[in-house]
């Protein structure tokens, strides 16, 4: 019964020293936990942020014809070629990697005639009208979801056109006859939000002015149903942009699925590569061809791996710093107790018994500090996730025993050399006070 009492008394009487070491362990573990949690989750978080670059996959009809488009104006007869079927689109949510698909937007470009006040009287101009989803509620199986350009094209901005903010300028409803006018087209035809515009015989209301910095600035963007009505092809979709979270490409991703062995094929199919998601999109949408948009898809891998690598190295630095802090605190705490060691040894305690007491104390400190530190670290990670990424950083429960084990090992390692020196110390010197 002597042993637990020694440990207990040590904690009772040397509160200050124990507190210092305990705080060091707690803070060290907290920082380590938070950093590990952030580093393991950063890939997912940045992947989601990379979606602000827009769609990285595009689905077109298998027998698609050439686009003849210069400066946002389509020169191809609009009814040319084949189309995808709008009713097939919700099936995108039924692919293997549907959790990785952030959103999709169908596109149907139609060439229309617009009369503009700056144009010679009585004449009209060819303009491309694109039909799409803005924020359309859809249903696949029992799952309700919304999708459209507001998710896949986050850089599109709607304003009033005259610089004023007003509730009248907004995204059109998906079932309305309202359209968005590209900002350059709006200046050309002198229209602003709330005006009506005659498009190929249809009187449409301009609900807002669209600014994208791309070809859409010269186009009209309308609800998909309206574009189909103007074209006279209900249910037709020219292409679908899909925004998906993907895994950076590697040696496996680039291989042709037709040449794979069944096991390799399974591994490829069950990895969220841009290639395998494209393959799965082709499977669910009949007569389609899915391809990655290389500008977006190829670059996000590099950016992602750079940021992940950086966080990994910083986490490594954080672990090192916390381990050193814990070691330093433990070494100091033990070094101060040489006199005590001298007394114990003078009373006949062996080196083993003395070390055992110190290690037991270290173990206790590590476990208590580890538990408190883990909770504090989890809280810290949660706070980082909330304030920076506006979403939760989840901590894997499996991390808990690992963190405690690391805390114990580091505490032991930090104490070991100090304990060895304390045990070696001649009790005579210690008792004479010549420490």
């Amino acid at each position: 019964m002597m042993f637990p009492r020694l440990v207990y008394e040590s904690f009772r009487h040397q509160t200050r020293r124990k507190l210092l070491a305990g705080i060091a362990i707690t803070l060290g573990v907290a920082v380590a936990t938070a950093m590990i949690a952030v580093a393991t989750d950063i890939g997912d978080k940045i992947n989601r942020e990379l979606r602000s670059y827009g769609a990285n996959l595009v689905v077109t009809p298998q027998e698609d014809t050439l686009d003849v488009e210069v400066g946002g104006i389509n020169l191809k007869p609009p009814s040319d070629g084949t189309f995808l079927n709008e009713t097939d689109l919700p099936k995108i949510r039924g692919t293997f990697w549907h959790h990785n698909i952030v959103g999709f937007s169908p596109m149907l470009p139609v060439t229309v005639k617009v009369a503009g006040s700056r144009l010679p009287a009585g004449s009209s101009q060819d303009v491309t009208l694109v039909g799409t989803y803005f924020n359309k509620p859809l249903r696949f199986g029992k799952e309700d979801f919304t999708t459209g350009v507001r998710i896949t094209h986050p850089w599109w901005k709607v304003s009033c056109g005259d610089g004023k903010e007003s509730p009248n300028c907004a995204w059109p409803e998906d079932n309305s006859q309202n359209v968005l006018l590209g900002e350059r087209l709006a200046t050309k035809v002198q229209r602003k939000a709330g005006d009506t515009i005659e498009v190929s015989g249809h009187q449409l209301t301009v609900s807002g002015i669209l600014s994208t910095g791309g070809v859409e600035d010269d186009q009209i963007v309308a609800p998909l149903a309206l574009a189909q009505e103007i074209l006279g092809k209900p249910g037709a979709v020219r292409r679908v942009f899909v925004s998906a979270m993907t895994k950076p490409p590697d040696a496996l991703s680039a291989r042709d699925p037709k040449t794979m062995t069944p096991e390799v094929y399974d591994r490829w199919y069950c990895s969220p590569y841009a290639e395998s998601i494209a393959y799965q999109l082709q499977e669910v949408i009949p007569h389609s061809h899915a391809e990655q948009i290389r500008q977006v898809a190829q670059n996000e891998g590099t950016v992602l791996s750079r940021i992940k690598g950086l966080m990994l190295l910083i986490t490594f630095a954080a672990l090192l710093a916390s381990a050193l802090a814990v070691s330093a605190a433990m070494a100091t705490a033990i070094y101060e107790r040489r006199v005590e060691v001298g007394l114990m040894k003078a009373l006949g305690a062996g080196s083993l018994a003395v070390s055992a007491i110190f290690f037991a104390e270290a173990l206790l400190l590590a476990i208590v500090g580890g538990i408190v530190g883990f909770s504090a670290g989890a809280l810290l990670a949660h706070e980082i996730g909330r304030s920076i990424f506006n979403s939760q950083i989840s901590i894997e429960p499996v991390l808990f025993p690992i963190i405690i084990a690391i805390a114990v090992v580091v505490t032991f390692a930090g104490s070991a050399s100090a304990i060895r020196r304390a045990v070696k110390f001649d009790p005579v010197f210690a008792l004479r006070g010549e420490g």
């Binding site: 070491a21 950093m35 942020e49 686009d67 290389r294 950016v303 090192l320 304030s387 920076i388």
Partner: protein
């Protein structure tokens, strides 16, 4: 012996003491000797304190270096997404002949600016097709994501988009030359390789700008620019370019600019949070080591006090010791940290992180401050204790 001893002295007594201290010139060398002996005699403890200091200063240096440099590094990575500024000739107007030079005068000679000119030509069977004239060498450097089987090198060679290929050549022979006509003028082209991007480029045919101009007589109507720098710098460049090129519209590619800003901001915030955590932890490491060190020397403290050293001298002694440790640790740690940052840069970005010596004053100030705090904290506690008690070993 209370902490108030100093304050109980009248102002004249204080000035007397100062005069006395000034008279005793040898005390300066004594002070130095005390400092030196303390470091030599207890080199083990001094070394562990110094080591903690070096590690903390190194980690802080590396973090600050990375924080500044990584943003620049990531911006270069983001330039792989291609142009972030597009210059388009206004309706019915054309770009000035020296447009490219004007762009470079604003953005620097190293800036990647690629001219593009567009025309709609017809194939032999009467199908319309967009043909683009460009500078292949620059386009290749701007658009890293273009998957090209072979870049054109010889005159008369064209880069054929994946889908355009089906329109101009028979599938059986992709290398077969083909003919295009533009306003009655015909040109014979040999496909050098196939271009795949997954976007509009797949439906086009690219040829060299000079050949394109000889054939169609059309000058470049679009310049795509990869402008380096922060969002504010790019905005300023866009304004300047707009003034220099009145016949053109200069606009940012919002998709690229906003995506970049978004990802960069999040990364920066994460980096900042992590760097703060790491620096705080290493400061804690120093604090833990040094507090232990000073506590350990309470016997020296008591002896000094018993021999009649003033509170001020003792405080000064410990403060000077801590400051010296802080300065030496900061200098050594700074170089270790620069090395660590350079290594991280090489491993992760395949480009060294440029050492930023402007960081040094901050590291130095931080190190000395932490060292002083960790010296003063135990001093405040010890000041209340009678030297006799410490010397008796209680």
């Amino acid at each position: 012996m209370s902490p108030a001893v100093e304050t109980l002295l009248t102002p004249s007594q204080v000035s007397d003491r100062r005069a006395l201290a000034a008279h005793h010139a040898p005390s300066v060398s004594m002070f130095g000797r005390m400092l030196l002996r303390a470091a030599v005699l207890r080199r083990r403890r001094a070394a562990s304190g110094l080591l903690a200091m070096i590690v903390a200063a190194a980690v802080a240096t590396a973090m600050m270096n990375l924080y500044v440099d990584v943003q620049a590094k990531l911006r270069t990575e983001f330039r792989n997404y291609g142009a972030n500024v597009v210059i388009v000739a206004k309706d019915g107007q054309s770009l000035p002949v020296d447009a490219l030079d004007r762009v470079k005068s604003v953005l620097g000679a190293k800036t990647l600016a690629v001219p593009f000119s567009y025309a709609v030509a017809r194939t032999r069977d009467g199908r319309s097709l967009v043909v683009v004239g460009t500078d292949f060498d620059r386009a290749r450097r701007l658009n890293h994501w273009w998957k090209v089987s072979r870049w054109p090198g010889a005159p008369g060679e064209a880069l054929v988009g994946m889908r355009a290929a089906n329109a101009v050549t028979a599938k059986a022979d992709a290398r077969q030359p083909f003919e295009l006509t533009f306003q009655g003028k015909a040109i014979k082209l040999a496909p050098a390789g196939l271009l795949q991007t997954g976007a509009g480029e797949d439906s086009r045919i690219y040829l060299d700008q000079s050949e394109f101009e000889n054939w169609t007589g059309l000058a470049p109507s679009t310049i795509e620019v990869a402008a380096n720098g922060t969002a504010a710098e790019v905005d300023a460049s866009i304004r300047k370019l707009g003034e220099l090129l009145p016949t053109a519209e200069v606009r940012p590619v919002r998709q690229i600019m906003e995506g970049e800003a978004n990802v960069l901001n999040k990364t920066r915030a994460t980096l900042y949070a992590s760097a703060t955590l790491v620096v705080l932890t290493s400061a804690l490491c120093v604090l833990a080591t040094l507090i232990g060190w000073v506590f350990d020397r309470r016997r020296d403290f008591a002896i000094m006090k018993a021999l009649g050293a003033s509170e001020r001298l003792i405080n000064g002694f410990f403060a000077a010791e801590a400051a010296a440790l802080g300065v030496v640790g900061a200098i050594l740690g700074f170089f270790v940290g620069i090395g660590a940052a350079a290594w991280i840069g090489r491993v992760n970005f395949h480009a060294p992180v440029v050492p930023r010596f402007g960081v040094f004053p901050y590291v130095l100030a931080g190190s000395v401050a932490v060292a002083l705090i960790s010296a003063i904290l135990p001093m405040v506690l010890l000041r209340r204790v009678q030297p006799a008690i410490i010397l008796r070993g209680e």
